[in-house]
């Protein structure tokens, strides 16, 4: 008798707990205060600013004492900088949503997502005096301007290069060393660990399988995506490691566990070994075009704008872009570069070259190449495909 009463009580208790959790889950919280509008004037600096950035963008001398453009900022403005480094745009999107960061530097595949989700605030470029020095062809682009409203200031643009170990191979001229010819380096090929890498495969297919009809590596219909996925699944056999942490790739190349794969110039700089080199293969390159943005949940808006102005200063921009290995955002920056060939190497100001890089864009169902007869795959399709590829 008591047992059944107790059972009933236990059952009632469990049901209550479940109901409680369901209702609690349903009434989850949303944003605190988020302001997506831009300020009309600046006030006092708050004393600190937190920045979410790619590695090498916010250097304070702790990696290399000679590489530091944060200390000067902190002295001039009194805003103490805390940085969080991220490895992929996906990681950054997740981190930015927490609202913990005042400033976010985002590549083109992230900016529109931040704007659409309300994470990015409109930027009043009048409050960033150095903005006027920026190259015109970087301003008001589709990834940083929506409906005529500016959501950030440009940083620079660069390409995903091919890094190789010169002790093991001659300079490759094609991306086939990581695709079809990758079996020669079984277990030592590396690739970027993000669904956006599918675009690199698509770009390769543009040159090697033209009858697929790919005109924009970010506008892939189902068949084109399937072809890219097949290529990447074949590549998977030869992959030793995927990398999202730039230092992990650096350590793998140094020890010889990776000998060829996608990279950023800054990683080759960090490795700093004569036998590890980079090159641009014939099929072309994907790349990124970065924008400094202000979070809609920023607590230190004035320091945020102060940072934006500081990083847009041609002298600072030159230092930052030269360290990372990308083209700067203004002609004046070239004068401050430490290496005289800097701007020539990265084709700064070369609008034609800049237009040839396939900048990271978020794939959406509405085909980015303008096709209206088919529906293109969107980023969630790419994300699913990516986990399948890794297997």
């Amino acid at each position: 008798m008591t047992r059944t009463t107790r059972t009933r009580r236990l059952g009632a208790g469990l049901t209550a707990a479940l109901a409680l959790s369901l209702s609690l889950a349903a009434c989850g919280s949303d944003d605190t205060e988020a302001t997506t509008g831009a300020p009309t004037e600046l006030g006092e600096n708050e004393g600190q600013v937190s920045i979410l950035a790619w590695p090498g963008y916010v250097e304070d001398g702790s990696n290399d004492p000679a590489v530091d453009w944060v200390s000067s900022f902190e002295e001039e403005t009194g805003c103490e900088v805390t940085t969080k480094v991220y490895g992929t745009s996906d990681e950054a999107f997740n981190l930015a949503k927490s609202g913990d960061y005042d400033v976010v530097v985002a590549s083109g595949d992230l900016t529109l997502r931040l704007i659409a989700s309300g994470e990015a605030a409109e930027v009043n470029t009048d409050l960033v005096p150095n903005y006027e020095k920026v190259f015109d062809f970087l301003k008001d682009k589709e990834w940083n301007t929506v409906d005529g409203k500016n959501y950030g200031v440009p940083h620079g643009y660069g390409a995903n290069l091919l890094m190789y170990n010169a002790d093991v191979m001659d300079e490759p001229t094609s991306w086939d060393v990581v695709f079809e010819k990758g079996s020669a380096y079984q277990g030592k090929v590396t690739a970027y660990d993000s669904p956006i890498y599918i675009a690199d495969a698509a770009m390769y297919l543009m040159a090697t399988q033209p009858d697929l009809g790919i005109t924009n590596p970010y506008a892939l219909d189902e068949d084109q995506l399937a072809a890219a996925v097949d290529l990447l699944k074949a590549q998977r056999e030869n992959i030793g490691e995927y990398w999202s942490d730039y230092l992990k790739e650096a350590s793998a190349f140094k020890t010889g566990d990776s000998v060829v794969g996608t990279t950023w110039q800054v990683i080759a700089n960090v490795i700093d070994q004569p036998n590890i080199k980079v090159t641009i293969p014939s099929e072309g390159v994907t790349g990124w075009n970065d924008t400094w943005m202000v979070s809609s949940q920023a607590e230190n808006v004035n320091c945020a704008y102060a940072w934006l102005n500081h990083i847009e200063d041609p002298k600072i921009n030159a230092a930052a872009t030269e360290y990372f290995g990308e083209a700067p955002n203004s002609a004046e920056a070239c004068e401050y570069a430490s290496s005289p060939d800097f701007c020539a190497t990265f084709k700064a100001g070369d609008e034609e070259f800049a237009n040839k890089i396939w900048y990271w864009r978020t794939p959406i169902a509405e085909c980015l190449d303008g096709r209206t007869d088919v529906e293109c795959t969107d980023y969630s399709d790419w994300t699913k495909a990516w986990t399948e590829i890794k297997g």
């Binding site: 236990l10 889950a25 989850g28 990696n63 927490s98 230092l247 650096a250 350590s251």
Partner: protein
């Protein structure tokens, strides 16, 4: 037990080999804390004490150790109280649902850390809408540390039997007095062992911590994770690890002495 000399020698050799394999990576860490090349290469390119100097000056490492100690102490304190209460309840009474409660206590440590981590993260950020701070980390750690204290306490309680408590009650001592003067002194060493293991668990925990520590809380494992691959910081991380090992030998040894030969330092 009488073993043939051959069996005995074989056992010693096996034990020795296992210990060798257990300590070889740790020795590598020690060697690398002196390696001139910041990436952990073998054989070491040279020896230097530079990293030890840098570690001594490292503010980040010191703050991280302090944060970890705070979290571990907080979590252990909560776990000690709750674990003891649970052990007393489950050992001294029999009631319907006892097995369920037992399962409930074990669940936080039996389910993988990432599950606990994302569940708590979702609960803190989504449902309760609190910021992730050192408090949320302590709460998370206490939850899975309860079981270590619980297991030690209940094992000891089983061994103790209830006679002394009954005698104390017969002699007129109240409930709290009995606990304070009779039960607790006998439980003490078991609680110490459980508390020590709980401290160790919390100190080294990374997965649940990643999900419950906000931007501002940096425990030692988080600091290590952030600095592990950085070429100029990796050797400093090795130094910190070596110091941890050396420092930990003392409390482990002490715990062993205190708990005596009848129990392990658990």
């Amino acid at each position: 037990m009488t073993l043939s000399p051959l069996a005995r020698r074989a056992l010693v050799v096996v034990t020795g080999l296992v210990l060798l394999v257990m300590y070889a990576p740790l020795l590598l860490v020690v060697v690398n804390s002196f390696n001139t090349d910041p990436s952990m290469t073998w054989p070491p390119t040279g020896l230097t004490t530079e990293w030890w100097g840098r570690a001594a000056d490292s503010v980040g490492a010191r703050d991280a150790v302090l944060t970890s100690v705070k979290v571990a102490l907080g979590a252990t304190a909560i776990a000690l109280v709750l674990g003891t209460m649970l052990a007393l309840a489950l050992q001294r009474f029999s009631f319907y649902g006892k097995n369920t409660v037992n399962l409930l206590v074990i669940l936080p440590i039996a389910l993988p850390g990432i599950v606990t981590g994302i569940a708590l993260n979702n609960a803190f950020r989504g449902i309760l809408a609190v910021d992730l701070t050192i408090g949320t980390v302590i709460v998370a750690h206490a939850t899975f540390c309860i079981v270590t204290v619980f297991n030690n306490a209940i094992a000891r309680l089983r061994r103790m039997g209830g006679n002394l408590e009954e005698a104390s009650a017969d002699l007129g001592a109240g409930v709290w007095t009995t606990f304070r003067l009779v039960t607790f002194p006998q439980l003490r060493s078991a609680l110490l062992a459980g508390g020590l293991l709980s401290f160790a668990l919390s100190f080294d925990e990374i997965i649940v911590t990643t999900f419950t520590a906000g931007n501002g809380t940096e425990t030692l494992p988080i600091w290590i994770l952030n600095n592990l691959f950085r070429p100029n910081q990796a050797p400093v991380v090795s130094v910190v690890a070596v110091v941890l090992i050396l420092v930990s030998v003392v409390p482990i040894w002490l715990a062993q002495r205190i708990t005596g030969d009848t129990e392990t330092a658990r």
